[in-house]
Structure formats: structure tokens, C-alpha cells
């Protein structure tokens, strides 16, 4: 459940939103946020997390270390 967006760095450009395969990203108060429960780290969808690959600001979509890493259903 692990990617999050650092709100203070997000420019709200919207690049990540349509790319998320789980529709986990939405805009809230001038910044985009990732709904942790929906994030699958793009496992099984793509080789790399789409939000990270598309974000124009380095180190803004980052792993949320306060949560356990996503486990693909066995």
C-alpha cells in the first residue's frame, strides 16, 4: 500500500492521475494523493510504478515506509 505523494513538493500537474492502474490517485486541496489501500505498487501491471515514472518532480512519489509493502495475492 506503499506509495505516497509528498504534498509540499507536488505541483498538482495531474500527470500521475490517469496513469494509475488502480484509480488510486485523486486531487485533494491542490495536491494529488494516493489512496494507500488501493495502491499495488503497479505489481502485475507494469515494470515500474507509473506515478514515480511520470512525476516531473524527483522524489515526490515515494514509498510510504509507515505501511507494509504490497503483497500480491498468492
Amino acid at each position: 500500500m506503499p506509495f505516497k505523494i509528498i504534498a509540499s513538493q507536488c505541483t498538482s500537474c495531474s500527470a500521475c492521475e490517469p496513469l494509475c492502474p488502480n484509480d488510486a490517485i485523486s486531487e485533494k486541496r491542490g495536491s494529488f494523493v494516493i489512496e494507500a489501500a488501493k495502491c499495488t505498487e503497479c505489481v502485475g501491471h507494469f515494470d515500474e510504478p507509473q506515478c514515480v515514472a511520470a512525476c516531473p518532480v524527483d522524489n515526490t512519489c515515494v514509498v510510504d515506509t509507515s505501511l507494509p509493502r504490497y503483497q500480491a495475492p498468492a
Binding site: S12, C13, S14, F46, A53, P56
Partner: protein, 518 residues
């Protein structure tokens, strides 16, 4: 002005003998072998372009230099996302005081954009073109972009639609573009060689992956050229923009010019790099300089040939509104739009534009008449003059109020628009600013004269000292006609030995690119 380091071949070409001439090895792309026509930039009148193209561009300020004196355009910022990163770009979404692509005051939804278009169309009836240029890439936001076009096409059918893209996603959307009312597309192509591209583009996002370095540049150039070919096949007019980055792609842009010409682009717009540290771009921060006025002109002249060169681009913001060179976007913020009563009146717009057409015809006729008096006159002298104008093809701006000067090259064959120089307004609160005057003079240093509607005593004497003749006797007259008349008297004085004709030096292209408070 930045220090000129590592002078490239364009500088040399420009400085040799103090004359503007392209380097000899580029003769190949100057002569118009197939058409046999004397090309004069994108100043095309109908005689200079196939008639069907002229019909499409004659009222499009970004596609016709002649039209840009009379018609306005607007951009709506509905496309904030981008699929590539350029080293000269840093997008800002809430910025009121920088003027460059990638900057806007506020992002809009397609519905807000429509409201803004209708409000501007009513307030500025000479606004004929709506473009979507970002601030990101329109085709990285296809849903918002095409929704906006669809709404506007329905509500304001007379407005031309165009979009400006980096080309990466262009092949994917070509059928949607062809199926909509979009009849003009601009692609920004800065290289056709991935080695060079890697110095301009740190990464692209393509096919669900981020690519970097040469791989990224190779994919980008392939997609751009493929997109351009597809547009040409479908008969959609395509302009190519290129950013001139000294010592990175300046020489290479001649190759780019050939590549886009052979694939059917009809206009090539080479723009100077804007790179001030405060913009926060990679090039701005690492001290990459932009070209000087001479370097830019030498490259444009070297590429001049069958494909027209655009020299009147103002590198405007992704939410610009108004004539090129003026920006009225501050009048149309969302708050203000809410207060406006928006009624789309096609008849009123048509009536107004008929008046504009009469004005254009009168301007052309006046210049022709002046030119016939030149017939038979031969002189090798060519020189540049600067003009302060508010539009309509007239010398109608006070020296102290000018936000920019338009530059014309004069010769016995007439007056040709060759560029513009943005400046900080000299008069602030009724007083002239001394240091601004020197900056303005640096910006038009290569001009022999400056045409104004009015000018105060202090700047007048300073200009004369700097060897730039202030000319106010043609106030509120047509630009070309006045410039030709002045040039004729200049040549007469040279002939009579009253004055000695001298070449002038280079001029700086302003990097600050901030919007001055009006």
C-alpha cells in the same frame, strides 16, 4: 547580457566583416531551388504561398507575420501534465510575472476554458485563434484537450483551433486530431540526432516506462518525425518550433530544418533559448546562455529557403491572451470571468474583422506606393530599424511605454520584418529610468533608427549619442511605408555625402522575460 563564450559558427558568420550573412556552407538551404520564388520569411502575402494555405493562415497571428499585427490569439491552460522533461523548461502553475511557455496563472477545466474563450472573443473581436499549448503537453492530457476543442467548436464555430505538442504522443492521437476541427499543429523539434537530444531531454515517459539519455531522445525524434509525416499526409498544416541552444543544437538546427522541410512542415520557428537562473530550469541554473540577436538571425537566414521562417514568435505563456507582444490574460482571471456577461455575437465579430481587413489592405497599398518610388534605385546598403507599435501595423507607441520593439530590415527591395526585442518599459510612474534606458539601447543596439509616436528629450539625446536615430515624424502612420520613406532619405543623405553609412554591432536578447507592471 551573458558573456559570449565558445562562439559558434553563427557568431563568426555574423561578425565577419560586421555584416549579417550566413556562413557560406549553408548556401544549400537558402536558395529556393524548386519554387524559384524570393522567400521573405513568413511575411507571406497571398502571392507567396499556395492559395489554399494562405486562406488557412491569413488571419492566424502565429502562422502569418503579416496577420500578427492585426489579429490576436489566446491559449487556455487545460493541459498541465507533461510526458517529457526538457532542460529549458520548468512549469509553474500559479505564476503571474514570468513570460515564457510552461508558465500560467491558473489551470482551467474544459468548461472554464470555454467560458474564457467566449469572454475573450467578445472583448477582443480580433481574437481568431484558440491554441492549447500546455503548460504541459496537450497530448499528455488528451481528454481535457479534446473536450475543450469540442466545446469551443460547438459554441464558437468561427474560431480556429490549434495545438502545440512535443510530438511524443502525436502518432497516437493523429486520427482524433484529423477528425476534429483542429487545422493547425505545432511540434517542438529541437534535434534529429539522439546524441544531441540527450543533452536537451533528461527523460521521457513513454509506453508506461521512463526512458533516459540517448534511448529517450531516439524514441522522441522517431515519434516526432513520424507524427509530422502523418499530419502532412492528412493535410493538416504543421509548424515546427525549435529552441536555439548555443553550442548544443545551434549548428544542428540546419539539419533539423532540412528534416522537417522534407516531411512537409510549412513554417519553421527558431526561437532563442530563455534561460535565467530565477526560472529554475536546468539550463538556467547551469549557466547555459541564450543566443544573441545576430546569432539567431544568422541561423534563421541560413535556414531560409523553400520553408518559411517565423521570426515573430513571442514565446508566450500557455495562458496568453491578446495580440502577440501584448498580454491581456490578467483581465480574464476566473474571478473576473464570473462577473462577466458572456454573449457570443458572431455578427459583431465579423463586422469588426471586416474593418481589420480594410486596415490591412490600406497598409499594403501604402507600402506598395512608397516602394514604387524606389524602382530602379540600387544600393547594397541594408540596415535594421526598431519600431514601437501597439499593433494594427502602425507606429503608434510612445518610446517610454514600449514593452517591445519590432525590428525591420530595410533595403532597396523594401521593409522586411526580422524580429522583435522585448524590453522593460522605460517610463515608470511618469519618470524615465536611467538604467532601463541603457538596457533598451542594448536590446536595439544593432538598429540604425527607432521609430516612435513620441519620445522625451532625455532618451532622445542618449539615443543620438549611441548612434541610434530617434524618428518621431511618422507618428501614427503605417510601419512599412514610413520605414521605406525614411530609408530613401537616408540613402539620399549617404549619396550626398552628408552622412557616412556604418554597420552597427550585435544586440542582446533579453533573458529576464518578466512581465513588467503595465
Amino acid at each position: 547580457m551573458n558573456a559570449v563564450v565558445g562562439r559558434g559558427k553563427y557568431v563568426k558568420a555574423a561578425v565577419d566583416g560586421g555584416k549579417m550573412k550566413p556562413a557560406a556552407e549553408y548556401k544549400g538551404c537558402r536558395a529556393s531551388a524548386n519554387t524559384g520564388q524570393a522567400s521573405c520569411g513568413s511575411q507571406a502575402g497571398p502571392g507567396d504561398l499556395p492559395i489554399e494555405i494562405w486562406e488557412k493562415v491569413k488571419n492566424h497571428p502565429c502562422y502569418s507575420e503579416e496577420a500578427h499585427h492585426h489579429y490576436a490569439r489566446m491559449h487556455v491552460a487545460v493541459a498541465p501534465a507533461c510526458n517529457i522533461q526538457c532542460n529549458y523548461c520548468n512549469r509553474k502553475y500559479d505564476c503571474a510575472n514570468e513570460s515564457r511557455p510552461g508558465v500560467v496563472s491558473e489551470k482551467l477545466t474544459p468548461e472554464q476554458a470555454l467560458r474564457k474563450v467566449l469572454a475573450v472573443a467578445t472583448t477582443i473581436p480580433q481574437m481568431t485563434v484558440l491554441g492549447i499549448a500546455g503548460p504541459g503537453d496537450p497530448l499528455a492530457n488528451p481528454a481535457k484537450t479534446f473536450k475543450t476543442f469540442e466545446l469551443v467548436a460547438k459554441a464558437a464555430p468561427d474560431i480556429k483551433l490549434c495545438l502545440s505538442t512535443n510530438g511524443l504522443a502525436l502518432p497516437d492521437h493523429i486520427d482524433t486530431i484529423a477528425g476534429s476541427k483542429i487545422d493547425h499543429v505545432t511540434i517542438t523539434i529541437n534535434m534529429v540526432d539522439p546524441e544531441i537530444g540527450a543533452k536537451i531531454y533528461p527523460w521521457i515517459f513513454f509506453n508506461h516506462k521512463r526512458y533516459t539519455g540517448i534511448d529517450a531522445a531516439r524514441i522522441l525524434t522517431d515519434r516526432q518525425l513520424q507524427g509530422l509525416e502523418m499530419l502532412s499526409e492528412r493535410g493538416i498544416l504543421c509548424k515546427v518550433n525549435s529552441v536555439m541552444i548555443p553550442n548544443i543544437n545551434d549548428d544542428h538546427l540546419v539539419e533539423v530544418n532540412k528534416a522537417v522541410k522534407s516531411r512537409g512542415a510549412f513554417l519553421h520557428n527558431i526561437m532563442p533559448l530563455i534561460s535565467a537562473p530565477e526560472h529554475g530550469t536546468v539550463f538556467g541554473l547551469n549557466g547555459q546562455r541564450g543566443p544573441t540577436a545576430w546569432e539567431l538571425k544568422a541561423l534563421q537566414d541560413a535556414c531560409e529557403g523553400e520553408i518559411k521562417m517565423m521570426r515573430h514568435c513571442r514565446q508566450c505563456r500557455a495562458d496568453a491572451v491578446g495580440l502577440l507582444g501584448e498580454d491581456r490574460s490578467a483581465e480574464f482571471t476566473t474571478d473576473q470571468l464570473m462577473k462577466m456577461d458572456v454573449q457570443y455575437d458572431l455578427e459583431m465579430r465579423k463586422g469588426y474583422q471586416d474593418g481589420v481587413e480594410d486596415e490591412r489592405a490600406a497598409k499594403v497599398a501604402a507600402a506598395q506606393k512608397e516602394l514604387t518610388e524606389f524602382a530602379g534605385e540600387m544600393s547594397a546598403i541594408t540596415l535594421l530599424v526598431a519600431v514601437a507599435t501597439k499593433g494594427s501595423g502602425l507606429i503608434n507607441e510612445h518610446f517610454g511605454h514600449a514593452k517591445e520593439f519590432q525590428v525591420y530590415e530595410l533595403s532597396t527591395s523594401g521593409a522586411k520584418f526580422v524580429g522583435h526585442r522585448r524590453v522593460d518599459v522605460y517610463c515608470q510612474g511618469g519618470y524615465g529610468e536611467e538604467d532601463r534606458l541603457y538596457a533598451i539601447m542594448g536590446g536595439i543596439h544593432d538598429c540604425h533608427a527607432v521609430f516612435v509616436s513620441k519620445i522625451g528629450g532625455c532618451p532622445k539625446s542618449n539615443l543620438i549619442k549611441a548612434g541610434i536615430e530617434p524618428v518621431d515624424q511618422y507618428a501614427h502612420e503605417f510601419i512599412e511605408k514610413s520605414a521605406i520613406a525614411w530609408f530613401k532619405s537616408y540613402l539620399d543623405k549617404v549619396k550626398r555625402g552628408e552622412i557616412q553609412h556604418e554597420q552597427r554591432g550585435d544586440a542582446a536578447i533579453r533573458q529576464g522575460s518578466r512581465i513588467s507592471a503595465a
